[in-house]
């Protein structure tokens, strides 16, 4: 991946989040506090501003720049989670690991570590981890991403706000899984 691709990725993702802001917040209303769309939109506005203000010289700086915007502006669990994903990608890029499968794997591991969630806990980790594996197998595509997102629906949440609802969380998509799906799809578009 290169800086231009990252910038394109973020532009596409911001547009996608903006378009689906209410949808993401509605998903979060069902099993959380209803702010996920607003959180992500605020965060992505900050990401765009940050990349504009401080043109990144290389991939590591681009990821670092994005991470800091997300960390300081999302204002919900998604902030430290996505922030950590980009921080880990910055570290990997610094040591030369700039291929997408490797970047997704370090990001996924960072998210899982930050939230203490495992696959099956009905969080964004349910998309990140298997998507990184799909990428390694050359199988990361929209259909597979949709499958991972949809698979969160029948699960009972064990982490995050939805976990307070116990079995009442069953039958709803996880908002963070949905926004992660969008992030991965726009990554595919930006690097196609």
């Amino acid at each position: 991946m290169n800086v231009e691709q990252v910038e394109k990725w973020m532009t596409l993702y911001q547009a996608e989040v903006e378009k689906n802001k209410d949808y993401l917040s509605q998903l979060d209303t069902d099993i959380g506090d209803g702010d996920h769309g607003n959180n992500m939109a605020r965060g992505m506005t900050a990401v765009a501003d940050g990349l504009e203000k401080d043109k990144p010289a290389d991939l590591a700086h681009a990821f670092q720049n994005i991470a800091m915007s997300l960390i300081s502006k999302v204002g919900g669990a998604a902030g430290p989670l996505y922030g950590t994903a980009f921080l880990e990608m910055a570290k990997a890029a610094k040591s030369g690991g700039t291929d997408i499968p490797n970047l997704l794997q370090v990001a996924a591991d960072g998210v899982a570590k930050r939230g203490g969630a495992k696959v099956g806990d009905k969080t964004m980790v349910d998309v990140w981890e298997p998507a990184a594996k799909d990428a390694q197998a050359g199988q990361l595509n929209d259909a597979n991403i949709d499958k991972l997102v949809d698979a969160t629906k029948p699960l009972r949440a064990l982490k995050g706000r939805a976990s307070y609802l116990g079995e009442r969380s069953i039958g709803h998509l996880d908002p963070g899984a949905v926004s992660t799906g969008m992030l991965l799809k726009t990554l595919l578009q930006a690097t196609a």
């Binding site: 960390i71 204002g75 669990a77 430290p80 922030g83 939230g115 706000r161």
Partner: protein, 127 residues
């Protein structure tokens, strides 16, 4: 009884009023401890962010900090912030108000952090 001179306290909540209120409760029994708070996001909305938490950590007069928080996203931000500060953070996954009140009363009485921790043990929660 002189307050603990080494250790301070940081409170992190999604809502500004919550930490403002807990501070009032705590100040009644612990007027002299080093106490700072991050309530809500940097922009004053409901939520938490690392920047706001980092500010509360920086503002605290002590380098050794007992940290209490309300919900899980604050916990993740706290872990993130650990790598961004030179201060030593001790995060307690305990009942927020009850844990902070107990620790504050003991800090005010000059009790050491290590001796406070056993009293927080029964208040543990998976957060």
């Amino acid at each position: 009884m002189a307050a603990n001179e080494k250790t301070g306290m940081v409170l992190v909540s999604h809502v500004p009023e919550i930490v403002a209120g807990i501070s009032k409760l705590i100040r009644q029994v612990a007027p002299d401890i080093a106490l700072t708070t991050a309530g809500g996001t940097s922009d004053g909305d409901i939520g938490t962010d690392a920047t706001h938490i980092l500010k509360a950590i920086d503002e605290n007069a002590k380098d050794d900090l007992m940290v209490f928080y309300d919900l899980g996203s604050a916990k993740m931000n706290l872990d993130l912030v650990k790598d961004m500060t030179d201060k030593t953070l001790y995060r307690y996954d305990v009942a927020f108000i009850e844990g902070a009140y107990t620790a504050a009363a003991l800090l005010q009485a000059g009790v050491k952090r290590e001796d406070i921790e056993p009293q927080l043990q029964p208040m543990h929660l998976d957060k």
